[in-house]
């Protein structure tokens, strides 16, 4: 598992954007240099959820009474659709993805794991920051790790 140590060396595979790095000890990390939104589409997550769509949009996300949003996650029957304002930094986008998926999964099911039952907004945000520190940029595999870490099980 990854800890926040400095990488002693790293290699970047240019075509895939994958970074493989070695820490000073035996730890390692495998990460994507850039978050490719398309990799999430139709990915099946722990808990049986499916991300059917993610859109990064330049257009304001505005509701019927004019309120502007920076992110919106729709869930119906365990299927997620995410809309996120573009212009976020790589780190902000990663943390937003971790946060949206964990909170949406917790809200979507009748009996969420005990680990998230008492989470308020700050707890979800903290969990998202911790996930980003622990596993790096959000990826389908890392979102799966996040859900598993917080007690979601099954496909």
């Amino acid at each position: 598992m990854i800890r926040s140590k400095k990488l002693a060396a790293s290699q970047v595979h240019r075509r895939s954007g994958i970074i493989l790095g070695w820490t000073t000890g035996v730890e390692w990390r495998l990460n994507l240099a850039v978050i490719d939104i398309n990799q999430f589409k139709n990915f099946r997550l722990q808990g049986g959820f499916i991300i059917t769509d993610i859109e990064l949009t330049d257009d304001p996300i505005v509701d019927a009474i004019g309120r502007e949003a920076i992110a919106q996650t729709q869930t119906i029957a365990g299927r997620f659709r995410l809309f996120i304002r573009s212009g976020l930094s790589e780190e902000e986008l990663s943390i937003t993805l971790y946060h949206e998926i964990l909170e949406a999964a917790s809200v979507a099911i009748a009996n969420p794991p005990a680990g998230v039952m008492d989470f308020n907004e700050a707890d979800f945000e903290r969990a998202a920051h911790d996930a980003h520190k622990r596993w790096g940029n959000a990826s389908p595999a890392n979102l799966d790790l996040l859900l598993h870490f917080h007690g979601f099980r099954g496909q």
Partner: protein, 65 residues
């Protein structure tokens, strides 16, 4: 009681940092929304909202008979 799988849950993060939870039943178009209290557990707030939403849906179904 309406099948939970037919309810759409929308989590919305506003520009000012506030979080909204909106429940929608697509067939009737009924929607109910709540601004989430930042210090309260999200799951419990959702359960309360869902209870109110299901009661409202039952009223809509009764009025349609």
């Amino acid at each position: 009681m309406v099948d939970r799988d037919k309810i759409q849950f929308d989590l919305i993060k506003l520009l000012n940092g506030e979080r909204l939870l909106r429940l929608t039943e697509p067939q009737s178009g009924l929607a109910l929304e709540k601004k989430l209290a930042p210090s309260d557990a999200v799951v419990r707030q959702k359960e309360k909202l869902l209870g109110a939403f299901q009661a409202a849906l039952a009223l809509v179904e009764l009025s349609a008979v």
